[in-house]
Structures are given as structure tokens and as C-alpha cells.
């Protein structure tokens, strides 16, 4: 029987939560292909130095059969590409699913080359019709969505955008438990000869402290309020605020809401305007406040991945056709700074 293979996302031996979304996506593909008459089995691969415990845990939680792949060296995109290419060469699966993270983005395309597979990157939706399976992914700076159709009978390697809904419904499908009651766990040991890394790790540092990146002069977090991950209101600034000085307006605006924290899109963090722990998105923090106010943020899939769990979203953007508008409950087409100033003026008038 043909297989849907899901590659669990692990970090330094620990299972990352996006793995549950991958499992749900795998089950969805199995079901969609099933409707089209292809009977598929699903299995989760868990590569690691000693992955058996993680493989058992994943099987328990998803009800899906797992394979602990005992890796002879560090699990890196490079060794994964080579190892999986060898492991799967004889019988490529119908679908091979990675997370659209650094690891998945770096592994999937090379693996697709080795397996002669179709490669679909950053999938945000999927479906099936009489022409077979299709996948949706953002293009043109997130202003359009492209439909990609793999040719019949090819192996399809795909990376799934974390945090975005699987399917087009917008539900968080990752909560579905797709498997059965007694999943099996097997273990395969990958031979050493498959490992010959061309890169050597020298150091691994975490910049996840409130002092920001290594180039940050010091603790500049004070004006930005509490930790964005626990705040009930997050006011987030993007490139649309224009100049760095305008961050003051954003801070004063946020101060009008008790307990609010100031967050930002990545470009502001990259420029050193605001410390890294304030970054919302796939390479930053994931937040789920009651209210998220996006000021001058376009709504890239990488940003949405960090805030789509907010209860209510308001966006302020000069362009009503900015992608963020379709992901907002209230969409205010205005200059973000003028809007905040107007709000602040009115507020101080009342006093």
C-alpha cells in the first residue's frame, strides 16, 4: 500500500508542537486521496540519536504508527536529505510531509531532487477534485494564492506552513486526532555510512532573552510592556509605521490599554528598533491574545503563523487590500500613526 510519510519536527531531541499539525495534514491527505480511490497508509518518521521514546509519545498522542529512525550522527537538514534519500529510494512514498521551518525548507527540495519527486513549499491549503490532489500556497508577496497540482503517480514532497489552517475552512484542524487506538512503533537503525556531513557545528546560541539580540545595547524592553506571549492585548508595529520615532506613538497608544504589550513584525527587529522577544511570527513568538492590533503590517504568512490564534484582530493599514485585512475582524484603512494620534487626542480630550 502507498504511504503518506510525515517527518516529525524535533529540536535537539524534543518533539516540536508543529508535529501535531503535520500529523493532521497527513491524515487529511490520506482521506482526500482515499476519496479519489487511492488507498493510503500513514506513518510518522521520528529521526533522532535516541528517538524511541519520542516515537512512542507521538504514536500515543496521534494514534498513528511511527518509526523511530536511529540516526548515526546529528540530525541536520544535510544528513536528513542524504539519509532519507537512501532510505526511501527504492520505494518513495506517495507523500512526504515536512514542516515549513528551517529544517523542512532546507531538506525537502534536495530530497525531492534525489527522489525525482514533486516539491511543494509552504502549503496553506489542500483539496481534491476530479483532476486529483491540489495544494495552495502563497505567492506574489502574499497577495495571491497559487494552486499547484502534482503530476499523477509522482512522489510529492511538501512543507506545511505552521500555524496556518490545513484545508480551506480556517479551522484549526490540528486538534483532530486522526489515527487509531493501537498504533505500532517500530525502530530502524540508519547505517553510519550514510552520514558524511560537509558542515560542522561550532556553536549554538539562543537570543531569546529580553535584552534582544547580541547587538542590542541593553534592556530596552521597559517601554514595550509585558511579555507578548502572556499579554491579553498586543499592539504590533510593522514597516508601515515608517520611522523609528513613530514607535513612541505605538507605545503611547498601547499604554491606553491596561496590560497591553507592544510587538512587531520581523523587519523592525532586524533593524534593531525593538528587541527580538517582541517579534511575532514563525521565527519569533506565537501569541494568542484577546486582541491583536496590527499597525502597518502587511500580513505575510510568516507573520500570520505567530498571531492567527488571537481572539480578535484589528488591522490599521493604508491599503484596504493588504492581505492582513482578510485575516482581521476589523480593518481600518488609514495611516497607522495618524489613526493612533487621532485616538490619543480624543482620549486625552475626554479627561
Amino acid at each position: 500500500m502507498k504511504l503518506v510519510l510525515v517527518v516529525a519536527e524535533t529540536w535537539e531531541g524534543r518533539v516540536r508542537p508543529v508535529t501535531w499539525e503535520l500529523a493532521a495534514a497527513g491524515a487529511m491527505i490520506r482521506d482526500l486521496a482515499g476519496k479519489a480511490g487511492d488507498r493510503l497508509d500513514i506513518r510518522i518518521l521520528v529521526p533522532g540519536r535516541a528517538p524511541l521514546a519520542a516515537a512512542r509519545d507521538i504514536a500515543d498522542r496521534t494514534g498513528i504508527d511511527t518509526t523511530a529512525l536511529v540516526w548515526p550522527c546529528a540530525v541536520t537538514p544535510e544528513t536528513l536529505t542524504r539519509g532519507l534519500a537512501k532510505l526511501l529510494a527504492d520505494q518513495p512514498p506517495a507523500f512526504l510531509i515536512f514542516a515549513h521551518t528551517t529544517r523542512g525548507r532546507e531538506t525537502a527540495p534536495g530530497l525531492a531532487v534525489h527522489l525525482g519527486a514533486a516539491s511543494v513549499s509552504g502549503v496553506i491549503g489542500m483539496g481534491g477534485d476530479s483532476d486529483g490532489m491540489f495544494f495552495s500556497r502563497p505567492v506574489m508577496d502574499n497577495t495571491r494564492v497559487q494552486t499547484v497540482r502534482p503530476l499523477d503517480d509522482t512522489c510529492v514532497v511538501l512543507t506545511l506552513a505552521p500555524g496556518t489552517a490545513v484545508g480551506n475552512s480556517g479551522d484549526n484542524q490540528s486538534r483532530a486526532v486522526p489515527g487509531h487506538a493501537t498504533p505500532k512503533v517500530e525502530q530502524i537503525t540508519v547505517p553510519d555510512t550514510w552520514c558524511s556531513p560537509g558542515t560542522v557545528r561550532k556553536e549554538l546560541v539562543c537570543r531569546d532573552d529580553d535584552a534582544g539580540g547580541p547587538d542590542d545595547p541593553g534592556d530596552s524592553s521597559a517601554p514595550f510592556g509585558p511579555d507578548i506571549r502572556s499579554a491579553n492585548i498586543v499592539v504590533a508595529a510593522g514597516q508601515g509605521i515608517g520611522d523609528r520615532e513613530n514607535l513612541d506613538t505605538v507605545v503611547r497608544f498601547a499604554e491606553q490599554f491596561p496590560g497591553a504589550a507592544v510587538g512587531a513584525s520581523r523587519p523592525l527587529v532586524d533593524r534593531g528598533w525593538i528587541p527580538y522577544p517582541r517579534q511575532v511570527g514563525i521565527t519569533g513568538a506565537t501569541v494568542a491574545p484577546d486582541l491583536y492590533i496590527a499597525c502597518g503590517i502587511s500580513g505575510s504568512s510568516q507573520h500570520l503563523a505567530g498571531m492567527s490564534g488571537a481572539k480578535w484582530v484589528v488591522s490599521i493599514n493604508t491599503r484596504a487590500d493588504a492581505p492582513i485585512c482578510g485575516h482581521s475582524d476589523l480593518c481600518i484603512p488609514a495611516d497607522a500613526i495618524e489613526f493612533m494620534d487621532a485616538f490619543l487626542d480624543k482620549y486625552s480630550d475626554k479627561k
Binding site: 511543494v120 480578535w312 484603512p333
Partner: protein
Amino acid sequence: MRILVCIKPHIMEKDIGPFESIALEAGLQLGEEGVVDVITAGPDHWVDTIYRALGMGADNGIHILTDSGDPHGGLVPASVTAGMLSAFVMSRRPDQAYDLIITGVMSQDLMAGQTGPMTAAYLDIPCVTAVVRAEQTGESLLIRREWEGGYWETLEMGFPALISIQAGQYTPRYPALSHMLKAKDKPLTVIRALSEICSTNQIPGQIPKERFSGLRMPEQTRKGEVVRGTLADQVRAFETFLQERNLT
């Protein structure tokens, strides 16, 4: 060191694409003492992107002319582009071979992040993506790459290699007017057909395993109620929105 930077145009402005200009800046800094070439595979008007890069300081331009039928020109399966880029790299004389190939972490139009890793796979050279900083130390390259969760990993790798650059630590320079004036005199190689550089049946990836079957507007995940009117109207609508949901 001989470096090849792979570039594409910006989709809205007359400029190099956002991630490619960062990649080019990284290439220009790394290749200060060496040679920095730029390559693009696209329709004829993409040549402006090459001139812009030459104006920023690149030494030679290479344009693989394509006609994909896509009106913008950039929505081409990554395997096709990667196959063409790798064919060009392989066609180089040994004394002109590239030590380092640099791409952006993703393009603005296709947004795939596939072209770099696929090119490396076709060339069978090591590849590291999401690189925020790269420095040459003797015979090897010291790079800092980014992982989710705020991790920075320092890696050492040999040559030849391919890296993709993520935003963060390189700010693209502006093309100097004097450079821009000279740009049109710098060497530009136009490849009109790949058969000029290799035997075309050796080029991988040209028969893609997937097909692009249409574009649509993004789905809305929320209602997206648009508040028009004056600023005062908008502020009022915002307040009402908050009050109705007990958010104040």
C-alpha cells in the same frame, strides 16, 4: 574567491527583489577581494535587475533568457530554474569555477525557498539556508544561520558551497551614480538558449513534476469588516468594536 549571486526583480518596484538585494550585499562584502557575478534566469526586461546589481558593484552579469508564458515571468517551478542555474555553473571553465553560490532565502514572487537547495542538489555541493552572516576564514566559510525559537547556529563549511541569505544583518547599499553609469559597460553575458552552454538533455529539472494551475485572491480567515470614512469615524468604529467585545 569567485562568487555567483542569483537574483530576481522586485515585483512592484524597479529594483532587485528584497531578499536578493540582501543576498547581493552579502556577496559584495564576502567578495571584496574577489569576483562577484550576478545571474538571473528570466524574460528580457529582467536585464534591468542585472544593471542594478552591476551598479551596486557586481563585476559581471549573466542573463539566461527565458519565456515561461507567465506574464510576470517569475512563477516557474523551482526545479526548472535550479536546473538552468546549475547548468550554467557546470559550464564554467575550471579557472572560472565558483567557490560560493548565494541566493535569497526566498523570492518575492514564487516564495518557495527551493531554488537554492535544489541547485545545490543538482551540483552535489553542501547547502545551508537562512544564513544571517557569513565570513571567510582561510579555506573555509564561517556562517551563522538562524533556527526557529531564536537560535543562532555557527557552522563551518568548505568550498564550493551554496548559502541562502535571510534578512537581519546585511543592509543593501545604494547603487552609486558613478557605478550605475559604468554598469552598462561591464561584461554582460546573455544566454539565449541553454544549448549555447551545454547539451540540453543533460539539464536536470526541466520537466517539472508539478504544474501551476491558477492564481486567486487569498481566502479570508476573518470577516475583514472595512471601516471607511474620516479618521474620527474610524476611531469611533474602533471604540465601538472594543466596547461590544468588552476589550477595554
